[in-house]
């Protein structure tokens, strides 16, 4: 097992690789993304410490998307061989990993709904709701405030919008007193209303402890 460090923007896993190890985020923030030939980018997930964004490499030879750091980030790498030994010995672990990839997929599906059928305001409200609950679940948002090292352009690429439009929607939400969002720090001021604006329903997160919010 090796640990490596990354700076903002650096690839942790490269699209097209054939990894022989899985990575575990130890500290920092990462996202998964795909690029179209002409440079358009779609971000498909945000990852916090404790996540293993790369579990699929255990079964799928070639990686079909990249993982990049959003800020100084440390990741541990565990060889597939060792993973197999571990899961062979502790079948519970195997099911936990599988479950993890299933929740991951559930979140991507919800994003698909957003990019397909929600308008810009709904998408952004929904994303904030999701972040807050997920971050609460892992202790990254003890109050209704959390740190999110994403630029407005990153948010745009996650939600299929332009950075300009993200900016305008955020201003609307600020004007309406729903949130504050400065300096990579997000605070949710009116949770209930934000949920409504985002047509948010937390079922898809499959959280065991229904985090109160």
């Amino acid at each position: 097992m090796t640990v490596r460090s990354y700076v903002r923007g650096q690839d942790i896993v490269r699209d097209g690789d054939r990894p022989s190890e899985c990575c575990l985020i130890l500290a920092g923030f990462a996202f998964r993304y795909k690029l179209l030939p002409d440079g358009r980018r779609q971000i498909m997930a945000f990852h916090t410490p404790g996540d293993m964004p790369d579990l699929q490499s255990l079964h799928l030879q070639v990686t079909d998307h990249g993982v990049a750091a959003m800020m100084p980030t440390q990741a541990a790498f565990i060889s597939h061989k060792k993973m197999q030994v571990l899961t062979g010995r502790f079948p519970g672990l195997l099911h936990a990993f599988w479950r993890d990839t299933l929740i991951d997929a559930a979140i991507v599906r919800e994003w698909l709904v957003g990019n397909g059928r929600r308008d810009a305001h709904e998408r952004i409200a929904h994303l904030i709701c999701e972040m807050l609950l997920r971050f609460k679940g892992v202790g990254l948002a003890p109050s209704d405030t959390f740190n999110l090292p994403a630029t407005q352009a990153d948010i745009a690429d996650a939600l299929g919008l332009s950075n300009v439009h993200v900016n305008r929607v955020l201003q609307d939400f600020r004007r309406d007193g729903l949130i504050t969002w400065t300096n990579y720090t997000v605070s949710v001021l009116k949770w209930d209303e934000l949920q409504v604006r985002g047509t948010f329903d937390a079922t898809y997160l499959h959280q065991v402890h229904k985090a109160a919010a």
Copy 2:
């Protein structure tokens, strides 16, 4: 194990259920979908005979989306208990199921890219490319022609477009001699050009036999 029959539009798995069994499509066609409170719909996957759209229910208590029949369809239901016995006895099966859910997720991610960053022409071209390769893989498109029991409104709900716009794009593709699409039968006439128009790259399908096309 029980077998049930469904008509077009009927739910095979209902959103919000707590299933105690997994379903296997035996014949027909199905899709997975979510509805927003006001009725907007997002289709998240199409399924052919042999697929198990519901594998996630093995690990996630409550279903976060529906599965519905696109035409007269038969599905077999296998209890979770039996699934556990099977996978316990044949660990290879367990990994095959996991792998299947991973590919499923990879396809959803690619759809996310489409709905987020591809325009209408690209989305539709991409979907046709994907369908052709997947259907070839399971013998449903021996030539470059296949049956797809989806209305233009279904396609619209899969791609985050309006039915009217889908119609207009299809006319463009027909005019350019890329495809024909009548009576639920799709033929790809210019595979190479269609791939270009859809910025299609088959990596994400993780097909073992690189299906020639």
